[in-house]
Amino acid sequence: MMKVVEGSYGIADAVRCCSPDVISVYPITPQTHIVEHLSEFVANGKLDCEYINVESEFSSLSSLIGASAAGARTYTSTTSQGLALMFEVLFNVSGMRLPIVMTTVNRALSAPLSIWNDQQDAMAAREAGWIQIYAENVQEAMDLTPQLFKISEDPEILTPSMVCMDGFILTHVYEPVEFLDIEKVREFLPPYRPEYVLDPKDPKTFGAFADPSWFTEFRYLQYQAMERAKKKIEKVSKEFEEIFGRGYGGLIDTYSMDDAEVALVTMGSVVGTAKEAVDELRSEGVKVGLVKIRSYRPFPEEELKIALKDARVIATIEKDVSIGYESALLTDLKGAFYNSPIRAPIVGFAAGLGGRDIGIKQIRKIVEKTSRVLDAGIEAEFEIFDVKQECLQEGYHGR
């Protein structure tokens, strides 16, 4: 039976069903209700787990390193500045191959000070060796939680994961969701029994010094594990669908792509809006389709080549900017296709920065601009979308 709950509550309940042993969080700015709901579960005896309130996000992830190395299933959640403060620790976690799972609530990075949604925070961490999967809606973010524990903890993978979900748009809205059944989750996600664990009877060192004769091989193994994760994500996604009856595609999903001439590529909550826009445009005879990227790391290069092989023009829509060169997804996509037979022009739009809405109107505008490439060629390969020119005028003081 579906229930209408706040996104944060849905996620907290999904985490509860995964039975983590240790949760460590910094409960304030920037944070969401996810961790508060979890603290209630622990206080009410609904979740048997060590819950640590720490003094910073740096400490929350650091304390999970210890807990995970000692054999615990571990979870945390943060957003924007909190993720930025964790940056050093992110690499530590992935380098030590600790399968920590984190809900990364996507929000803009300061300055200017902002509390609203975009995906700059997680994008800035794309090199950190964490699996990153972006959810379209609350249900998907909930369902991804046990899936990512299962993938991360797989002995062939041992790589930490982020469930990325858009701040406010998903965390603070009320949506009808189907709660996970804890018994079914237990069947789907076996208890965490790590092979490499801190054990006085069998001493080990985690995070040891690797001189130049070793370091490269550690990175190589991480890279290989991330490559293997592609198949694992697909497999676990199918297993989940068999047990719970909800599927979302694998590394990517497609919508109205069969005869699409204009293809949009995007990720996160804007996918839902883009589907509406695609439906509208299709009803008007515009041959437009949509590719939803679920897994951004590992990057679904092969799947994208298949999905986009017949498109005549491709546009990325993403909520981040790599100041100095385009946006992350656009550059990755172009890189993925360069050595392939796909020659459709690719253009990119950085949109929805710092919480500016991307509605159907905006997506129609992007499709219009992208379609123009077919007649006029590429005018701008990359655009920061929806810039209010009047704000840039000298002496502008309006709102």
Binding site: P27, I28, Q31, S56, Q81, L113
Partner: protein
Amino acid sequence: MRPKDLATEAANTWCPGCGNFAILNAIKPVLAVLDEEGLVAIETVVLVSGIGCHAKIADYVNANSFYTIHGRTIPVATGIKLANPDLNVICFAGDGDAYAEGLDHLIFAAKRNVDITAIIHDNRVYGLTTGQYTPTSPSGFKGRSTPSGLEVPPINPLEMVSASGGTFIARGYSHGIDLLKEIFRSAILHRGFSFVDVLQVCATFFNLYDHYNQRVYALEGHDPLDRVRAEEKMREWDYDSDGPIPLGVFYKKDAPTFGDNFEEQNPRKIDIEDAINKTLERYI
């Protein structure tokens, strides 16, 4: 200059009864008077705030100001002061800023004795995020992230700053504005790191007005130069017990400040070429 000249047009969004009003209403007259007296020109004042309800004070005082990210008021203030020692830098930070996420900065500012003033809006709760515990929340505190009650005791920030080498240590309270003004004035005029922990009541999420009103008293006949006695007074209340809560300037000491001897250490003042040649001569 009158305090109202320091007002701004920004709409105030603090809750009714918020202790931040007392800090705002104390700092404005203090700055106005210091400017009138020619001791601190308002143009040289820089207010540095952190993240939380308190930080909006930067919007409400018509002076130079700087919003920093969470926890980083003190290092930003330190940088401002070192780059331009003519400026008078006042930090406004919350207890989350100063005692949790940015605690290391507080310790090092006290250790360096950098000539800035740190005013901590210590409401002992995360107010902007609606009621989580902070490092100074009392044991047993039931907040949004500690529904079954906080298990760990609070820290005593005064003792901590004293142990770190702070040269001006005071406690104020958001009820009783005259004492607060007196403390702020001395703190700003003190040469060195001035630390003021203000018991600033969050009327919405942790209303301690009654609790404090029954327990606070102003230090009288206390010699702030007597460190032993000062530390005894700091320990009189540990932010957890029910004991009396002393207010005022606990400790004050004149000491060299960070940056005082930069001129002497300036490498431009040493003839580097000459120094290198002298060293090389030893090997030739």
